[in-house]
């Protein structure tokens, strides 16, 4: 048991875990793409409302980005401030 649960093993698994955590980047990518597409469609229908649409779109995209950033923070915690390694 001592040979398996050593620090190298834990560090390697933490690096794998950090990589797996970043799969969460898929979600915000899809969400931001949908928001940008809808924003472009809205500007195409009503070019006069470009400023308002742009502000709303950027705000929504920034909020959609939060979940991706949570996974980034988890990955950075696993690599740099790992409590088990």
């Amino acid at each position: 048991m001592d040979g398996i649960f050593n620090k190298e093993f834990v560090q390697g698994c933490s690096a794998l875990g950090a990589g797996i955590a970043m799969i969460a980047g898929l979600g915000p990518g899809i969400g931001q793409g949908i928001a940008a597409g809808q924003g472009a469609a809205a500007v195409g229908r009503n070019p006069g409302a470009r400023g308002t649409v742009m502000g709303t779109m950027i705000l929504g995209q920034a909020i959609a980005e939060t979940t991706g950033l949570y996974s980034l923070i988890v990955a950075i915690l696993l690599i740099f401030v790992n409590p088990w390694a």
């Binding site: 920034a62 939060t66 950033l69 923070i73 950075i76 740099f80 401030v81």
Partner: protein
């Protein structure tokens, strides 16, 4: 190696064995300690965040004094100079954003705070271009900013809605825990959003500069600086102030 979050291993201290065996890139992208002092039995560290904040506060103060001189010397009936035009553009932008998001009645009271917040976060975020470690890549700074917003939200909520601000939490009785969690998560999500974005840029720039050989790093890292420091920094400063305005106006309008 130095951590990205609150747990800091300062420069002079002997590092843990497992940490020192891994690469030392962490010390280049993390927060560095420059010295420490004892106070009330606790150990306080002077970190790169404090030094960067000091430099930025001095820079912003000098800019503000210069702007004040330009405004005083300008002729209200003559043709404005280029500095005066830039100052007027910034002030008009802040005024318009505040007024359109918070309403004409209350917007005027908040434009000083919103303007300060916008300028401070923007200049902090773009300070990576000037070789500083951005202060907003330290969770302590962004959490402090978000806590100011949190206090403002509830101060204005109690001031304008009185007791309704509390009873609103129990509006549908079964959803009470979710409402309370939603109120508490507001500053956490705001601060983590700003922190994560700026830290992401800092980490990627640090990896770029420290992992690649020196002769490859000619000109093209500038494009990464433009995206991660200037563009992302401006967007995040705008988003943070915009969310602050939305939450505060939601508090005194009562949803």
């Amino acid at each position: 190696m130095l951590s990205a979050l609150a747990m800091r291993a300062p420069v002079g201290q002997k590092l843990p064995e497992a940490v020192s065996r891994s690469n030392d890139i962490g010390s280049k992208i993390g927060i560095n300690g420059f010295g420490s002092f004892e106070l009330f039995g606790y150990r306080f560290w002077i970190t790169s965040t404090h030094i960067a904040l000091l430099i930025l506060v001095i820079a912003i103060s000098v800019l503000a004094i210069l702007a004040n001189r330009v405004i005083r010397k300008s002729d209200p009936y003559g043709k404005p100079g280029i500095c005066m035009v830039i100052i007027e553009t910034i002030v008009t932008f802040i005024d318009n954003t505040t007024m359109s998001n918070m309403g004409d009645e209350h917007g005027g009271k908040f434009r000083n705070y919103i303007g300060t917040l916008l300028l401070f976060i923007f200049i902090s975020n773009i300070s990576g271009v000037f070789g500083l470690r951005p202060p907003t890549a330290d969770y302590g700074v962004t959490f402090g900013l978000a806590m100011i917003t949190f206090v403002l939200i509830h101060y204005n909520g109690f001031k304008y809605q009185k007791i309704k601000h509390v009873t609103g939490l129990f509006d549908p009785i079964p959803l009470t825990p979710i409402n309370i969690i939603g109120e508490i998560s507001t500053p956490i999500s705001m601060s983590l959003r700003l922190f994560g974005n700026v830290l992401c840029g800092t980490v990627i720039m640090g990896l770029l500069y420290n992992l690649l050989p020196q002769f490859l790093l000619i000109l093209w890292p500038g494009a990464f600086h433009v995206y991660f420091d200037l563009f992302s920094g401006a967007i995040q400063a705008y988003v943070f102030t915009m969310l602050t305005m939305v939450f505060i106006s939601k508090a005194y309008n009562g949803d």
